[in-house]
């Protein structure tokens, strides 16, 4: 009797767990129909921590001063690099319940929504604010389709930066490498001293994908690099193969525990002097300064080898979805967002540089001043690892190929996977 009762209870419990488990995964795909606030301006982003959140609040302050009657609702969703926010956003857009305006990386990530017919063009807003020529042309290309502009860029991060521990380099009489030959020369010397030459944190694979895309940029040059994403240059190009060979060689110089580390942990290895170099976007600067390290004293930054003159752009932009209840309010917010006032309030706190070229350099630190100069003169290239260069689907396949390659180091397989994935590019 007791036994059969236990069996019965067990089976009910098991069934209940299975049912709730399945139900969760199914309903998650189709939820997102809660009504949006008509009178409030919902600002959707993944800026929830540290300088990012401070920057967003500073921006909202500027907006509130100019438009005191409009109530702003900060709808930030936590999660590194927007991993969770993007899923929430996709669900809301699918469900026909878009936020008033939302953060999205310029390029392919924004274009996914444009192609789906979910976004309003913003050309009128650009004209009204006299923004023509205020944003670099390469950048406007990333947010435009068929001559229509769909996003207002708010901040710019640079993706092709090699960070190094200045003390380690000085102690060993080394210069930061400008070419791959110099890089491997430096790396060999460091390895001989028992210092990890290059720190990578690829618990999330994009940490490695960024290294690869910077090698691609160096080997192909900015023009051919951009053509890779339009299909004009294919992945069986000899330069791509050479990039893979360099990448393979580089993997021989990285930390053993890379797959257990996030990007901050890899930066920490450099900060501690356990590793000498790290390839990461310039949000790493924010991490170093938060650890009380000083630019050009404790740590230094140079463009990744052979990519000087190119600027790998990771740009956050805001767009205006179709079907929002308060389009006028959204226009007002985007006006502040694109203005010099708004950008200079936001960017120094976040550690990025303004997309608007009229930004006041005196408000930025030494690193950012340099980056602002480069941004005006360098050729701008879209980052693959951050969704600007190619659609999400392709990016995921590249991440998959990179993850396998970092362990197996099989160049031919890697090129084959990339070529296969590139059929997903239109």
């Amino acid at each position: 009797m007791k036994r059969s009762l236990a069996v019965l209870l067990g089976s009910i419990l098991a069934l209940a767990m299975i049912l709730t488990g399945c139900g969760k995964s199914d309903t998650a795909a189709s939820e997102g129909s809660d009504s949006s606030d008509g009178g409030k301006l919902e600002i959707f982003s993944w800026w929830t921590a540290g300088g990012e959140a401070d920057g967003l609040n500073a921006l909202i302050d500027v907006f509130n001063k100019k438009q005191p009657d409009i109530e702003v609702k900060n709808e930030a969703v936590a999660g590194g690099a927007g991993s969770n926010a993007k899923a929430v956003l996709a669900t809301r857009m699918q469900g026909g319940n878009p936020p008033s305006t939302f953060q999205v990386h310029g390029g392919a990530e924004l274009m996914a929504y444009v192609d789906a017919g979910k976004m309003e063009p913003l050309n009128d807003l650009f004209k009204k604010n006299g923004w023509d020529g205020k944003f670099p042309e390469d950048l406007i290309d990333m947010v435009s389709k068929d001559g229509k502009i769909y996003g207002i860029p708010v901040d710019i991060h640079r993706g092709n930066v090699l960070w190094y521990n200045k003390k380690v380099f000085d102690d060993n009489n080394l210069q930061p490498p400008k070419t791959f030959d110099e890089f491997f020369d430096v790396a060999d010397k460091l390895k001989a001293k028992g210092i990890t030459p290059l720190a990578i944190g690829d618990k999330e694979v994009w940490g490695s994908t960024m290294v690869f895309e910077n090698i691609l940029l160096a080997e192909l040059g900015p023009d051919k690099y951009k053509q890779l994403w339009t299909g004009e240059v294919t992945f069986d190009d000899p330069a791509v193969k050479k990039s893979a060979e360099i990448f393979k060689k580089m993997i021989g110089y990285i930390n053993d525990d890379h797959s257990s580390l996030a990007w901050q942990d890899a930066s920490q290895l450099v900060a501690d002097g356990k590793a000498a170099m790290n390839i990461m976007g310039d949000w790493a600067k924010g991490y170093f300064t938060s650890k009380n390290l000083k630019y050009n004293e404790d740590f230094g930054a140079v463009p990744t080898p052979e990519s000087d003159g190119s600027f790998m752009v990771v740009a956050d932009t805001f767009g205006k979805p179709k079907g929002v209840k308060n389009p006028d309010q959204v226009d007002k917010f985007l006006t502040v967002l694109g203005s010099v006032d708004g950008q200079d309030a936001f960017n120094p706190k976040k550690g990025s540089i303004p997309a608007n070229v009229d930004g006041d350099t005196s408000k930025y630190d030494d690193y950012s001043k340099q980056a602002m100069d480069d941004f005006k003169t360098d050729s701008l290239t879209p980052s693959l690892a951050h969704g600007s260069a190619a659609p999400q689907g392709f990016m995921t396949k590249v991440d998959e190929a990179v993850n396998v390659f970092v362990t197996q180091k099989n160049v031919d397989n890697f090129i084959q996977s990339l070529t296969q994935a590139s059929s997903l590019l239109k």
């Binding site: 399945c22 199914d26 257990s260 999400q392 995921t396």
Partner: protein, 325 residues
Amino acid sequence: MSDMVTQGRPRLSNQPAFKPRRRRRMNADRWIALGFILPSIILIAVFVYGFIGWTGYVSLSQWNSFLPDFSFAGFDNYAYIFKNFRFQADLRNTIFFTLFFIIAVVILGLVLAIFIDQKLKAESLFRNIFLFPMALSFVVTGVVWRWVLSPSTGVNLFLEHLGIHLKWYTSTAIFPHIHIGMIDFGIPAAVIPVVIAATWQQTGFSLAMFLAGLRGIPDELREAARMDGATELQIYWKVILPQLKPIMFSVIIIMAHISLKIFDLIYTMTGSGANYVTDMPGVNMFETTFKANYYAQGAAIAMIMLLLVAIFIVPYLIKSRKGDA
């Protein structure tokens, strides 16, 4: 008495015999009972089975971008994922993870339950200590064990003093390394730390189940065995264990469906791992669907996960139904 007979007679002659029986079934009580369970039946039909059906439908469609596209794709999505390196690795990992996890949880839970069943003084203290990890979510467990077993921190700082260097979940080693399909088949070393973390959390549950089972075995059985001259070991092996079979069956089923669908522990503790040595179908499903927007492929992975769980659950449900009857 005579009234009833006279009333019953014309009915019997005019109508089929089963009719009155059926009418008796649907009396007021039964209508009320049906009224009470109907809402939940409808809700479950729509929100569970309806959506399972919907997922199956999506998995056969071409909806592999942000824009829904329900044109029929046949089994293309299934063919794709089975040829995919990542999914093949998922199947390998999930097989070994489930196997080791169930073995560890059953054996540890049983041993601890027998230990606590020895009429200890501080029984409730031990019970609570062992049950406590169950109160945590897999997310917490994942973060804690990630740092405990990370090669540069935690337990490795002790081990390093002993001259032992373990790579734990960052290891990409696979034993015995047989090449099948696109992957190397074998036991991925990186799965073991995940098994440790999952076992740490779930052993309390199997302990509780086994303890309840042990308490349900009448002392007379043991005494009878002792009278017959059985040793303590023989009593456990020949008398107690067979009595615990149904409980063990339940533990295995419950653990199997937890491990086949595991997501949160992997996501927070190891991620997919280098070369996908710790990836599981659940993680793959989430990333394929919500990060890459391959909704149809994600749905196909979900359907395969459902099938895997069904392999364990359906025979169990059939068996327990028979047991009741």
